[in-house]
Symmetry: D2
Subunit: 336 residues, 4 copies
């Protein structure tokens, strides 16, 4: 069976996902497109999916009978409405981050899905599909004993002027917030943020670097350096310390050279290259679940918990040095 997919939002990521579904992955095809900017939808139609129909609104696309499943890759503020509409239509829906712009919005999606009774939503936390994190999870689950600590770093070479302090949480740390819950099978109970000496390369509106300290229910302590003007590269580090040993996230594959008096490996500088393979894998997972009328992978509950945790981390930024508690409602049975 070929899953017929409609894409709402044909910007960079929507267009790229359309290409994956149409040209790379087996099992699905793009049958419908919608964008507030009709030219974007038309460009994807002519370049990638000539047989796709263009709809005036996301709601129209969701309602279209030929659409089996929906990709929400529109502007973040519109995600909630389209996901809710997909749930109302009983159609599997892949939603890029954020699931909603507020924790309340995410909660509304959770409630709708719980009311529906089966999973329909996958959130685009692609790191769970990264081969490196998957290998790390295998090792953490089987070789190093109970996890006690995680030392991590999320570094970007540089960020633009509009990147302000809370974005270090909402746009950057958000990936660690989700992937560590999955990696450790745990939830957060508190957050603290401390601000080291500021880098001279940080522009005026961002405190950079920051260190975020998280504590989990099991008592695991996580420290994440967020450094978005680190200059040297896009670098994601994660070390899990367990009772019996340590495990590190692998470095991305690169060639070791000996040249110019240096033994060296290239470090990536563009974040888009770092987890590029995982996009194929997450969409393959979406297609397989959608062909069975459901969804798997990161759930709306995961999106909701990420939102709650982000809000606490932003509060911890504002109360520099103080420990801010994180309280979650009980996990609904659907997501256990």
């Amino acid at each position: 069976m070929t899953v017929k997919i409609g894409v709402i939002g044909t910007g960079m990521i929507g267009r790229d996902h359309a290409r994956r579904i149409q040209n790379v992955l087996a099992g699905a095809e793009i049958v419908a497109l919608s964008d507030v900017n009709p030219d974007g939808a038309k460009a994807v139609q002519s370049d990638i999916a000539p047989a796709a129909k263009i709809y005036a609104t996301g709601e129209d696309l969701i309602a279209a009978p030929e659409v089996d499943a929906v990709l929400v890759t529109s502007w973040g503020a519109t995600h909630e409405q389209y996901v809710l509409a997909s749930i109302a239509a009983g159609k599997p829906c892949f939603c890029e981050k954020p699931l909603a712009t507020t924790a309340e919005g995410a909660k509304r999606i959770v409630d709708a899905e719980v009311a529906h009774g089966t999973r329909l939503v996958q959130v685009g936390f692609m790191r769970r599909y990264d081969a490196g994190y998957r290998l790390l999870k295998q090792v953490v689950d089987s070789q190093i004993g109970a996890p006690l600590m995680v030392h991590a770093a999320h570094r970007n070479p540089t960020v633009p002027e509009q990147y302000i302090t809370p974005m270090a949480i909402h746009d950057t740390l958000i990936h660690e917030i989700d992937v560590f819950r999955w990696l450790l099978d745990d939830d957060y109970v508190s957050a603290q943020v401390v601000f080291p000496r500021r880098s001279g390369h940080a522009h005026a509106k961002v405190a950079d670097p920051q260190i975020v300290l998280l504590e989990t229910k099991k008592g695991i302590r996580i420290d994440v350096e967020v450094f978005v003007n680190c200059r040297y590269g896009y670098d994601i580090q994660c070390q899990v310390v367990g009772e019996e040993g340590l495990a590190n996230l692998p470095e991305p594959m690169s060639i070791v050279t000996r040249k110019d008096a240096k033994l060296q490996n290239a470090i990536m500088t563009d974040w888009k290259d770092r987890f590029i393979d995982s996009y194929d894998v997450e969409l393959k997972d979406f297609i397989e679940a959608a062909s069975r009328g459901t969804a798997s992978g990161p759930s709306s509950w995961d999106g909701f918990v990420a939102a709650i945790t982000s809000d606490a981390c932003v509060e911890a930024q504002e109360k520099s040095g103080q420990i801010v508690p994180i309280t979650l409602p009980e996990t609904p049975a659907l997501y256990r």
Copy 2:
């Protein structure tokens, strides 16, 4: 356009390629199957490609009007006849190694394809599609100056009793023979084999390890350790020494752990895992070219040169320590 593919030979590799085309990759589907053992074809039909038709012979499959392109994954001795039939039918053909069991057979294929006038054949030298070798080629082509030497190793943990000395060339070194021609854009002029102290783990019919020394037209010297009872893992090493620096094939991704007084990475032990991702990529390349009625990647000329070179290496094994010349006819224009 969806490329309609027929598969001749539904053993392990044929079945696995059928799964890739049907379930993993966009752009193609399996429409026909054939196997000397009809049960194999039926199993693939029922498990993977229910709509595929089963043909009594490879020739029937090739002739079938719904078949756009052919996969030859049958027993090695039958490759030549099916590839020749595909060329005669003007259909793109992917042929697993070996292209033919003799250099003469490979030459007949080359001649038929040259007579046809455009490329139709891709040989299954998958290493050219491996992400590590591709990165290495980029670096070799751009960063280390003219290549002067290659130091390489091909190590297997163990081999069965039926693995005899010449198989170190035909089954093992064959991958290096092809991939170094591509990596260096060069051809061989001589081969020498020397036999180090024998491993106590080698059974009676195989001299193990061996060192194969190759010289290229450009004067590059290549040494390849072939060690098929190395015990510790399946390990492929390649270092290119250039005028300005060195580059190494990356190690496969693995988790670094600190445990039991060791800083350690796992080394693979099963060869099937080592280049598994490259099978997807080579078939994707085949599908794309086949959709245009042609073939790309490793050609029948590459298959022929590999056969000539292998024969010289086996002669060099027999004349231990002597340098055996390798002479090639001029490369036809089709393959330049």
Copy 3:
């Protein structure tokens, strides 16, 4: 000129330093020994320094006219009195850690040395002499821009029953406390200690692991994982994050092997091996300065600051999660 040295305290470390001075390093000889246990002194005399004279008390040894310089390697509680006596005698004095058992005691030594007017005391903080830390300091000073953060770990495979929670500061972290001041040319302003999930391998009287968070005057944030039952090895990690890049303390030299499906390096398990070479270098430095009637390297001021900082860290352990300020008097001119 040969520096004539008297050793007070002939236990394991005193005996080993005597061996270094007598048998390894040029420029000095052991002429006097003293120990509360006279058999220890006699054993060193007969095994290492036959010409050395044995004195009944440390004070007698310090007063002896043939003694140019003093090594204090006795029980920690006696260090202060012998160092003060050496200063009173105007003789250079190498004192093993701790300089004194209280910050007040260390301050009395500082005051005495300041009153004397020139440096006479070197404290046994050997990491400043380690080749790895020295290389790291060179790189930190020249290649990575202003330091912003330090991520560090001090891990022991196991500790005995008598190792209790505050010893994680006084016996373990004390080395980081000193070496980071030197590495960063900075002082501390606050400390915080958080306690991760406890390792099941920790005995009842020690909270293990701990994470100590230090802030410096320049605003550098340091996190040190102290994990004394980590099982896998004795492992000292230090990464400095600067404005332009990062630098890591080198791993100790070890052989890379490929064996048993693992690419592996041995990790040390005995702390005594880790900085063994630095003992030779620190004593060489002591001998050279002593031959000029003075002392260099880690000073009594460094010993005093380490004591003040340790006390704050222990308070931070007791007030788990709270940030404890660290206040230092102004650095006397002698130590600037």
Copy 4:
């Protein structure tokens, strides 16, 4: 007991060894100096060993009653005569490479020492004292099973105009020739040299790079790349392949940095830095043996075998591609 040492030849290496003995190592002092250029001897006297007496000739120095042991660091062509004179005087003698300029000369020294009946000569093959090679030997002897192959490289960034092809053996490979005999406890039976594509950076009188292939009595096959215009650094590589696994010579300690989009370690460029620590250790060994009236470490037999092997390798250069046998007389009992 302090060993009283006379130094013949006060050039760069003689002066440096004098400094080690006088200022770094316990147990010896420089009491005598001699040089064909008296100013060199005077400079060492005034800078390093004020109490040393200057002798007009090496023979006078050797005969001087206050001289217990002799360091021969003069011009290579004079080594044989001074070593023979030391043996005749029954005085331990450390001789820098080469022991003699011909195999015949080395044999005369062996014969004289055998006639004397105990060892008196240590040859300056310092790699045997390098911490990395020593660790490697431990691992080779205990962890990887019987050695079967060695893959090695000796690379220099550049060489001057006067460096001609045979110097790749006499000045460069000579170190590998000696250290592999010690590492493997084996001797050579044949040599072959092949010449890869020439580097454009090699000047006219040197074929560069070269690959030297050695076979040992036990059947171990050694390949050594000698590349003296490799540009990127001074780099010594050695991998031993055994029946159970592989072991590599460690890289010299260096700081890993992340900077400028590179994960990088510095590679040395000056050969003088690479084994600098081993000079201290070899002289310490000399002093200890000399204090007992004898010598240990690399013997005159080792020097003689290195000369025989070098001659065969030069012949193998001249007969490019041919295998040249290496025949050694039986090892005298003194050296077994």
